[in-house]
Assembly symmetry: C2
Homo-oligomer: 464 residues x 2
Amino acid sequence: MLDKEIMEKLAALVGQDNILTGKMDRLTYSYDATADLPRQMPDVVVLPTDSNMVQAIVRFARKHRIPIYPRGAGTNLSGGTVPIKQGIVLSFQKMNRILDVDPANLTAVVQPGVVIGALNAAVAPHGLIYPPDPGTVATATMGGSAAENSGGLRGLKYGVTKNYIMGMEVVLANGDKVRFGGKTVKNVTAYDFATLFIGSEGTLGIITELTAKLIPAPRFRRTMTGAFSTLADAGNAVAGIIAAQVIPATLEIMDRMTIQTVENFAHIGLPTEAEALLLIEVDGMSADLVQAETEAVIQVVRDNHGDLCTAETDQERDQLWTARRNALPALASLNNTVILEDATVPRSRITDMLVACEQIGKKYNLALGTFGHAGDGNLHPTILCDKHNKDEMARMHQAVDEIFQVALEFGGTLSGEHGIGMAKMRYLGNELGESGLNLIRTIKESLDPDYLLNPGKMVPAHEV
Amino acid sequence: MLDKEIMEKLAALVGQDNILTGKMDRLTYSYDATADLPRQMPDVVVLPTDSNMVQAIVRFARKHRIPIYPRGAGTNLSGGTVPIKQGIVLSFQKMNRILDVDPANLTAVVQPGVVIGALNAAVAPHGLIYPPDPGTVATATMGGSAAENSGGLRGLKYGVTKNYIMGMEVVLANGDKVRFGGKTVKNVTAYDFATLFIGSEGTLGIITELTAKLIPAPRFRRTMTGAFSTLADAGNAVAGIIAAQVIPATLEIMDRMTIQTVENFAHIGLPTEAEALLLIEVDGMSADLVQAETEAVIQVVRDNHGDLCTAETDQERDQLWTARRNALPALASLNNTVILEDATVPRSRITDMLVACEQIGKKYNLALGTFGHAGDGNLHPTILCDKHNKDEMARMHQAVDEIFQVALEFGGTLSGEHGIGMAKMRYLGNELGESGLNLIRTIKESLDPDYLLNPGKMVPAHEV
């Protein structure tokens, strides 16, 4: 706990309006959306109003060796924002202005606290979109999603956050403020700092401004589902769609347990007897192309013994999307602890991975459902358990270990979009080896030698 | 010059077949495609055959404090491969195997010495392309273009090299070999190392393997030119095309001097009276969409008083592309020194930048032509001079200084695609400030504290 004098100095530095010290406030900032992780109240929450204030806070924290935990909306799923070593939570809710929308350059400049959905609402009148589309788009912030390199439902065709951040202002742990990148489409001046800070989970610097790339909104779309009686058929359909050179905007999968749970939750007529359901959306600038892609998808689904259903109205489409977006809350409603994993494999191993997850669930006698971004190979095996059941929690941990082991054996990675945070640090060496761990530490310690920024996350290290 | 004992040890380490020490050989590696830079012969050229040999060379060089200069085909345009501090040139011509083409995952795995064009030839039978398309695609290597983050003619729609490298194996200056990324479409495991090494100009590590992303080849395309009687009309047409929500695969510009020079060189009937020529190609998966985009482009060109010409046959298309690709060799044929710059501005400032370049050419009484990627804001102002004319060379240097000053004033950057290398180090502080320079040095020194890798490039620093 910071002593009274330090707290008074900090309050004087940022102003009483921008600091929260009450227990209820601090409790609110003691966790994020990740299950099964320790919680920790920060000593204090600061709400900076501009980048100069961020700089002043960093310098203050550095002088007094206080950890800083930057935080957007706290929606992240790997413990990235838990202030595990106390100190200061830096919450960006007051830095939430869209500074510039520039249709001629297809860019927007935003403060880190801007909600992704708010940016999309602001650029929609220009016929533009900001494509990265995490499930939490209605609450997650631009700063947080940049720090986590968020993916989402449209990643297959449109890419992830790092493909849409062109420039940044960052406050470094040494107190320097640096700007790089900007509105130019191409930029190879010095190292690609913007991409280094994207996905760095707040461990290298604090993002205080972002220049985002926008694209014209697709004018046409078609949404379909394919219900399959085996996981293999569904996996082959995913491969077949790509082999037909159709890149859908969205290509999602739910297994039987997820389908049944969502249907019980939302009552929208999902095929509860199916082993797997694909949710497919093609979009584009041409009605003809979208029609041609729709027909190609239909053919592939049928060739793989799938039962096809097309959304004929916006209402039907919305219902399907609601089903998909409800997968996590529906599963979460079944028990008090929902372990949402993020194992990712090359697209060609999707079927193998789905089968492996099912088998692991059975092996450890767990309620395990899998859904996710089939087109990306980015699956979310989800385990429901009772945190008061020690035996079940132990089996869950074994199952999770095995899921990651299998994902790596299939040429996959520990995290497709949720990040490493606190949740996956212990697996990092399995993927990157000792030389990879050293590389992580080298980069971290070059920019933040005192482990001031988001300590306890991503970097399994020599911490102070 | 390395002493005899060191040379003998190095020869024993890599084998006599993999080492070049003759003067003619070393002379061949003393320069690259950049004009007006010092040349320097290396002490020795080593041609590694695998990544273990690269690792052994790095460890040897580290022990004896010998600089290492990694080199692809030497096509780069910022002095990136000149062995300015002598030492070892590491030339990847023997590591030129395509290790894997995987249509199901839309990936290819290659050694760094693979020529970009060779990769495209290998994936074409699968209906796939590797989109990055620098002018030197027929000779430039995958390793070199990754190290330089090459752009090219298709950057506007398809992006640049960093958008297409999914994984890497790298040998670090400390001798560690690290692999990261791979065939998964999404990957947020630890920092985004692949993108850190892309565009690092060989100063952070030596790339020994690359996993590249492929995409389905577009099935339809239309190529057009628009000739304009003012630079402003041409610039407005560029803006108008984007405003019409058409993102062409290519949107190139040539000014009057470039048009006339290319026409004198290639005799293909270019409009030599025009002030500016746009070369526009739209492509896609749908004949209808390509037709609709073609019509939109035609309308914009006419609205801006342009004279439109459409390539009706493949031969006519090839001629137009030959014209564009001849811009540099044609200009280069006019005098003994061709200074090819790479100033890049936000797309909305293209007209301003074209006019500024023309004025700067006049102000300093120089033969200055500008061509480049108008859709990207990535222009190549090109100055022709006689290296024996000291006064002209001095005026050229003043003009170049002024071009970069103006580009930065317009919100642009020092380099869109050629890199910093030796050529632009002195300008870096103007764009990034002192805190930015410190950030560059911090990253460099964390991975290569002894300035072993490509010293004298990009990092304006405390060198040993």
